[in-house]
């Protein structure tokens, strides 16, 4: 419970970061995606599924022209990471970067597909492809760093015992 709340608070913080500070970079790094992949790999619970959905939805609320695009993409990312995590036996920086890269591709394709169907933007696919690949690369590069930070936070929270809180 405590850990889930902490991870969700981190998620909201990342939404805030992506809409303010990180916007000064030429390409906004998708840290929310990295967090959802982390949940899918290391914390696959119903709470994490709902948190991924809510984070995607909050991105929709602050930046998408229609609601539900990012919520759908994040839910798909979680499902694909969860299903693939059963076949992943090795957990190191390279593997996490590759998983994040593939998850970013899943998200990008889901976004482009949903936009093409529901928003009918002309020429969206071809132009979106470059962004999808760049976003995936940036997310994959950041993944090991973010993963180690999250793992440290998780270990710390698991060590701290608060009376009356069960998790």
């Amino acid at each position: 419970m405590k850990l889930s709340l902490l991870l969700f608070a981190i998620g909201l913080l990342l939404v805030l970061l992506q809409t303010t500070f990180l916007h000064f970079f030429p390409l906004v790094p998708d840290l929310i995606l990295v967090l959802c992949v982390y949940w899918g790999l290391h914390h696959p619970t119903v709470g994490a599924v709902l948190a991924s959905f809510v984070l995607g939805y909050s991105v929709d609320v602050v930046s998408s022209p229609v609601l539900g695009v990012n919520a759908l993409a994040m839910s798909l990312v979680f499902l694909s990471v969860y299903l693939s995590s059963r076949s992943i036996w090795l957990h190191n920086h390279l593997v996490s970067a590759i998983v994040v890269f593939l998850a970013a591709l899943v998200k990008g394709v889901a976004l482009a597909l949903a936009s093409a169907i529901f928003l009918s933007s002309e020429g969206f696919w071809i132009a979106a492809l470059r962004y999808i690949l760049l976003e995936a690369l940036v997310a994959a590069l950041l993944a090991p760093f973010v993963f180690s930070l999250l793992r440290r936070g998780q270990t710390y929270v698991e060590k701290v015992q608060v009376p009356g809180l069960y998790y």
């Binding site: 599924v49 919520a71 759908l72 499902l79 979106a128």
Partner: protein, 277 residues
């Protein structure tokens, strides 16, 4: 049965979320999502944080600029350097105050051309996604902002409000691929649609090959889309290309307003009054 649900609770909840997202997406795309309880709550939750983060960013920028200004005086002795730093910081404050004053003066002048209901707002956050171009302003339905209102500055069009919560609103920028503004070329009165594009930046669409369009031509709103007042500056044509095939010309546009450098905007509802200056 219960054991099955317990065993597959994660994939089943994922599927539930996917179906729910598809429902929301479909309803939202058709404009049928009238009462969204979570969106305003999230905006309400995140708004103070966004304002705080925005203030922090502005402060950091100010400190950074002061630091850069002071860096030029490194060679001078300590006393003069300290004095110069003080004067420089004071000067920056005055310059900033003067710039803000000038900006607000322009805004006031411009506002006199607009309907009385126009609302002054500050941009407090930008889009979290690279595929969509939007921003958040600090005024919402409580201040009179409504979905569909246009967002402008004295320099020209910024975008239009696509969603409004009580104290904030989401603005779809002119540069977003999903935006579309009915414009006309000021010189020839040829009409087209200005929209964002991930490939070519901002583009002017649906201009026939036979139309006389030149680089440097200014684009103004036609006022026919019911969103923007007539005569607002939209941008300048930077590139005109005629493909071998196709009915229309490929025209690239430099928007009149750079949203990244815009701090204060006016939210206006489209009334039949020309804003031509």
């Amino acid at each position: 049965m219960l054991a099955f649900f317990r065993k597959y609770q994660v994939p089943l909840s994922c599927c539930f979320c996917i179906v729910l997202s598809l429902y929301i997406l479909s309803a939202s795309a058709r404009g049928q999502l009238k009462n969204d309880p979570i969106g305003p709550l999230l905006l309400w939750l995140i708004r103070p944080l966004q304002i705080a983060a925005h203030s922090a960013t502005t402060w950091i920028k100010g400190v950074q600029e002061s630091h850069l200004t002071a860096a030029g005086y490194k060679a001078e002795n300590e006393r003069l350097r300290k004095r110069i730093l003080e004067l420089e910081m004071e000067r920056n404050r005055f310059l900033e105050a003067e710039a803000t004053n000038q900006q607000l003066q322009h805004l006031l002048d411009f506002r006199s051309h607009l309907p009385a209901a126009s609302i002054t707002a500050s941009i407090i956050a930008s889009s979290a996604s690279n595929l969509f171009q939007s921003c958040t302003i600090d005024k919402g339905t409580a201040d009179g902002v409504r979905k569909g209102m246009s967002v402008v500055t004295p320099l020209g069009v910024v975008g239009r409000v696509v969603d409004a919560a009580a104290r904030s609103a989401k603005v779809l920028l002119l540069t977003d691929p999903n935006s579309g503004i009915d414009v006309m070329v000021q010189r020839t009165r040829a009409r087209g649609i200005v929209s964002g594009s991930l490939e070519n930046g901002t583009v002017l669409k649906y201009i026939k090959r036979t139309e006389d369009i030149q680089v440097g031509d200014r684009l103004i709103t036609s006022g026919l889309d019911g969103v923007f007042l007539k005569g607002l500056m939209v941008g300048t044509i930077t590139k005109v290309r005629k493909e071998t095939l196709g009915l229309f010309q490929v025209i690239e546009v430099m928007p009149a307003v750079n949203p990244a450098r815009t701090e204060t905007v006016l939210v206006v509802s489209a009334e039949r009054k020309s804003a031509t200056k």
